[in-house]
């Protein structure tokens, strides 16, 4: 029998094509007769569009058409939807402001889509776009989150630019707790706005087939079925049967490529309008302007403790930026993916959260790696360190005193979620061991002897992954169920297709899912072919985000494979001339125990397709589909520790050590999971010390609009990462897996800011803690110390 593959660091199946230049990304696909779209974007943050003069552009060489929002509206194409209804504190739904592919009336951010030119070549389209004359009437832009509610109204539907004012928890209850607290720690903090920036910019290619009256859309999408659904039901009215969405190789997503965007919607419309395939590939400037951004919260957090440091209550007041329009899931991120995580790893009995979501004249904001959960973990782990400092308690000890302990599971938090399993002390112990926490004072002293400030910071995080149990999220306002589908299709000669509704864009699904199926069927992994990303091939599925692909998609694959094995059981019993009950199955073989009679699953598959001598009444074929709806979220958790050294003279920071200990439940491919950690850490560290989307607060111009201005993490910004695991298997899915995609990005910002604060001996420093900010903080802290002395 072959070796089991699950649990092994198998090298990836997808590497060969990607390493030899044979990957097929959207921009690599060429269609005969294709034309090129170029979008005319608003140079103003907030302006009425009075007129658009197209004549000169239309007369320009190679131009096939120039269109505006009014042209698309004449075809009755609707608004791009926001699929998650958040009910505010007064019982009213959020303000569902319209979001058209090309804005017909008003530009609402710099980069907003005002017109489109289609031409034979990209250069011609771009040249012609210069000739379009647009008469704008400028309006005062609303940029600053703190004052957005008193700014000029951006949408008719939303007075005070308020999307919703939402509350979780009881005000009276939290007030009572705070009234009897021994100590209250409080902090104002900013969760900085980020540009997700996968290396592949978004792209779309749309083609209309008049013979079939059908459309094909190639898109850089993380979830082609959802895109088809939205385009069909809400936007275009094209039936799903006439709309095929294909996501081929996609060059990273991180949440930003979940959504239905104006550009692909416009290309779809154009493909019929101009009667030619229409291509658009964003350049990086367009990515910065018009990709959905992430985070962007301003928060006041307060933690009430008793005299022993036991948490009594947590109070959180957040203003969350929605940007100029509602991206598809924007409303859910600062509510159900944020406030529901505010218990963290701790037994905080009372939690109250107030969230005001506001519109501003900036790019839409939606989920980005972690989505809500990093914002929650950041404020929890920061306020604990502040409380520890103020009360003179060791921050590790303070965490331990309040941890939910293994005996407490399943644990009902005060904020909806029920954690199934975990062991937070175990992860923390391992992380402390790996970084040699006991040796820190000596290392600090050594740094000091060289004039450097050394600091150490811990963050214990939890996240809700395996998105998501449909009934639960339905109660929270989700407009879709977040189950997943899988189809396992045996071929006559014993190879198998696995079709999944998830989509891989770097996560190695072809390998991980292959390992699972190869083990279950006892066939080589080379005989398992994963099919994903094509709505015409794969059963309806919900895509990839929220660390759901393995926990939900992988579980669906297990269920479909089990159905295959169960049906094969009947065929095998017939072939072995035994009663079904007497036949056993193990890894590719059906056998009758106590005899030497056995038959291979692959031979059973052949029999299923040549059903001559075959069980009476049984359908031919070996091809099964399963839909898996998780019973609960999964709850990965862990402890990360950062150790830093700061040069107070220059403010430069060196990350000298990093330990990440995570509990992802069962791990299928440790190599791939470790890669996910590394990538998440890089993004989280990027948020903590480098990255920041900045708009000019007066004009709304994007100041961080290129890789020259937006500090993307580079290779020499990082140390080597030390990764460790603890394991409490998820209790409610067949794989015991919890999901690993987002953890690194959730744990790292608080760990790093805790370390920097620790080094400087200060309460807080806002992200990104750039050398300039650190230098200023070091000087201020130094001056304060000098005064004391």
């Amino acid at each position: 029998m072959t070796e089991l593959l699950v649990g092994k660091s198998m090298k990836r199946k997808e590497d060969q094509r990607l390493l030899t230049g044979r990957g097929r990304y959207v921009d690599d696909i060429r269609r005969p007769g294709e034309s090129h779209a170029y979008f005319v974007r608003s140079p103003h943050a907030h302006a009425e569009i009075r007129s658009v003069k197209k004549d000169a552009a239309l007369a320009s060489p190679g131009v096939l058409g120039v269109f505006t929002g009014k042209d698309i509206q004449r075809d009755n194409w609707g608004s791009i939807p926001c699929g998650w209804v958040v009910t505010d504190r007064y019982g009213k739904p959020h303000k569902a402001v319209p979001h058209y592919a090309l804005t017909p009336d008003k530009a609402r951010y710099v980069g907003d889509h005002v017109a489109v030119v289609v031409a034979e070549t990209y250069a011609q389209a771009r040249d012609a776009a210069e000739l379009i004359e647009i008469d704008y009437h400028e309006l005062p832009p609303v940029i600053d989150l703190a004052t957005a509610m008193s700014g000029a109204q951006i949408h008719d539907l939303a007075p005070q630019n308020l999307c919703y004012d939402w509350e979780l928890g009881e005000q009276a209850e939290i007030d009572a707790v705070f009234a009897r607290a021994h100590h209250v720690a409080s902090l104002d903090l900013v969760n900085n706005r980020l540009a997700p920036s996968p290396m592949e910019p978004r792209a779309a290619l749309a083609e209309y087939d008049p013979a079939q009256e059908s459309y094909t859309l190639w898109s850089t999408s993380q979830n082609p079925h959802m895109l088809r659904w939205m385009l069909s039901e809400n936007v275009s009215g094209i039936p799903e049967t006439k709309l095929r969405v294909i996501s081929p190789d996609v060059g990273g997503g991180f949440g930003m490529k979940i959504y239905c965007y104006p550009e692909e919607t416009t290309c779809l419309w154009l493909s019929k309008q101009v009667g030619r395939p229409v291509r658009w590939t964003g350049d990086r400037s367009e990515s910065f302007l018009a990709d959905a951004h992430g985070r962007d919260h301003r928060t006041r957090v307060e933690l009430a403790l008793d005299d022993k440091g036991i948490f009594l209550g947590l109070k959180v007041d957040t203003v969350a930026n929605m940007g100029a329009y509602l991206s598809n899931y924007a409303t859910s991120i600062p509510t159900y993916f944020y406030a529901t995580l505010l218990a963290g790893c701790y037994k905080t009995p009372v939690i109250h959260c107030d969230v005001k979501a506001v519109f501003t004249n900036t790019s839409p904001v939606d989920a980005y790696r972690g989505a809500g959960r990093p914002e929650a973990a950041y404020l929890i782990e920061r306020i604990i360190d502040v409380a520890a400092m103020e009360m003179g308690v060791d921050p590790i000890e303070l965490r331990r005193r309040n941890f939910i302990k293994p005996a407490d599971f399943p644990y009902q938090t005060p904020v909806h979620l029920i954690y199934d399993i975990g062991d937070y002390d175990a992860s923390l112990d391992e992380a402390l061991r790996m970084i040699d926490y006991a040796g820190f004072p000596a290392r600090k002293a050594e740094s000091k002897s060289r004039g450097k400030l050394r600091g150490i910071g811990v963050a214990c995080y939890i996240e809700a992954c395996g998105v998501a149990p449909s009934q639960l999220i339905g109660k929270m306002g989700a407009g879709a169920g977040l189950w997943e589908s899988a189809q396992v299709r045996f071929n006559v000669t014993g190879t198998a297709f696995v079709l999944t509704g998830t989509h891989g864009h770097g996560q190695g699904h072809e390998t991980t899912f292959g390992q699972i199926v190869a083990d279950m069927f006892g066939i080589p992994i080379e005989h398992v072919e994963l099919v994903h990303g094509d709505t015409s091939q794969v059963p309806m599925g919900m895509g990839t985000y929220g660390s759901r692909s393995l926990a939900v998609g992988g579980s669906a694959i297990v269920r479909a494979a089990e159905k295959v094995i169960a049906k094969g059981h009947k065929i095998a019993a017939h072939m072995l001339e035994a009663a079904e009950n007497d036949v056993e199955y193990a890894r590719g073989w059906y056998s009758v125990p106590g005899t030497n009679r056995k038959v291979k699953l692959t031979d059973v598959a052949k029999k299923a397709y040549i059903p001559v001598d075959y069980p009476v009444g049984l359908e031919p074929g070996l091809d099964e589909t399963a839909f898996y709806d998780p019973a609960n979220f999964t709850y990965p958790a862990g402890a990360h520790i950062a150790e830093v050294e700061i040069d107070p003279e220059t403010g430069t920071l060196k990350i000298v050590d990093w330990v990440a200990v995570d509990d992802f439940g069962k791990v299928i491919n440790p190599m791939i999971v470790e890669g996910q950690i590394h990538g998440g850490l890089a993004q989280g560290i990027g948020q903590a010390i480098l990255e920041n989307v900045v708009y000019d607060s007066e004009t709304g111009q994007l100041l961080s609009g290129s890789f020259m201005d937006y500090a993307m993490p580079r290779a020499d910004d990082f140390p080597n990462f030390k990764v460790g695991y603890t394991e409490t298997p998820c209790t409610h899915n067949p794989l015991g897996a919890k999901g690993a995609g987002e953890a690194g990005a959730i744990a790292s910002p608080p760990a790093l800011i805790n370390a920097i604060s620790n080094a400087l001996g200060i309460r807080h420093i806002d992200m990104p803690a750039t050398p300039q900010r650190i230098w200023r903080a070091a000087r201020a802290a130094g001056a304060a110390d000098a005064q004391k002395e």
Binding site: G675, Q683, A715
Partner: protein
């Protein structure tokens, strides 16, 4: 329009091109060599790196006409006799790629590093790769891959001498 001739992955090619055509567009659009990618418009990301006369360059910041008469190697030209280049093999072994979008540029750039410095330290690798952005891997495994390739290539060299 200008007539240019160059060797691309060992094959001589003559073409009429617009003067403003970038080398990366020439490779992708004209020659359909889509392994070389475009990730930015400010020469920052390095996903477009190819070799011109054996030196790594960002093909988004060179015009096709500037490559006239020169020899270009892209990621598609690295395999020899059906075998991956040791750098490609090392990226596979060390899980140095996830989505693969930065990978062709990373590989081409890293190969040039080893031409110039056959035994780089980790820090030297990280500094060399400053001009190559990767959003997926956190660079950790890329650095390991380059180290592996350095060892493999120096062994090959020893075996030959």
């Amino acid at each position: 329009m200008r007539r240019i001739t160059m060797t691309v992955n060992g094959r001589e090619i003559t073409c009429e091109v617009e003067e403003r055509l970038l080398l990366v567009q020439f490779l992708r659009e004209t020659l359909k060599l889509t392994g070389t990618h475009v990730g930015c418009d400010t020469s920052q990301c390095g996903v477009c790196v190819v070799h011109v006369d054996g030196q790594s360059i960002k093909s988004c910041s060179m015009l096709a006409v500037q490559a006239d008469g020169r020899s270009v190697t892209t990621i598609e030209g690295l395999m020899k006799d059906g075998e991956m280049h040791p750098m490609q093999a090392a990226f596979h072994d060390q899980h140095g790629l996830q989505c693969g979008f930065c990978t062709p540029g990373m590989v081409m750039s890293a190969i040039d590093l080893l031409q110039k410095n056959p035994d780089p330290t980790e820090q030297e690798i990280r500094e060399w790769l400053e001009g190559n952005l990767c959003r997926c891997t956190g660079y950790h495994n890329i650095v390991k891959a380059v180290r592996q390739a350095a060892t493999a290539i120096s062994r090959q060299g020893e075996a030959r001498t």
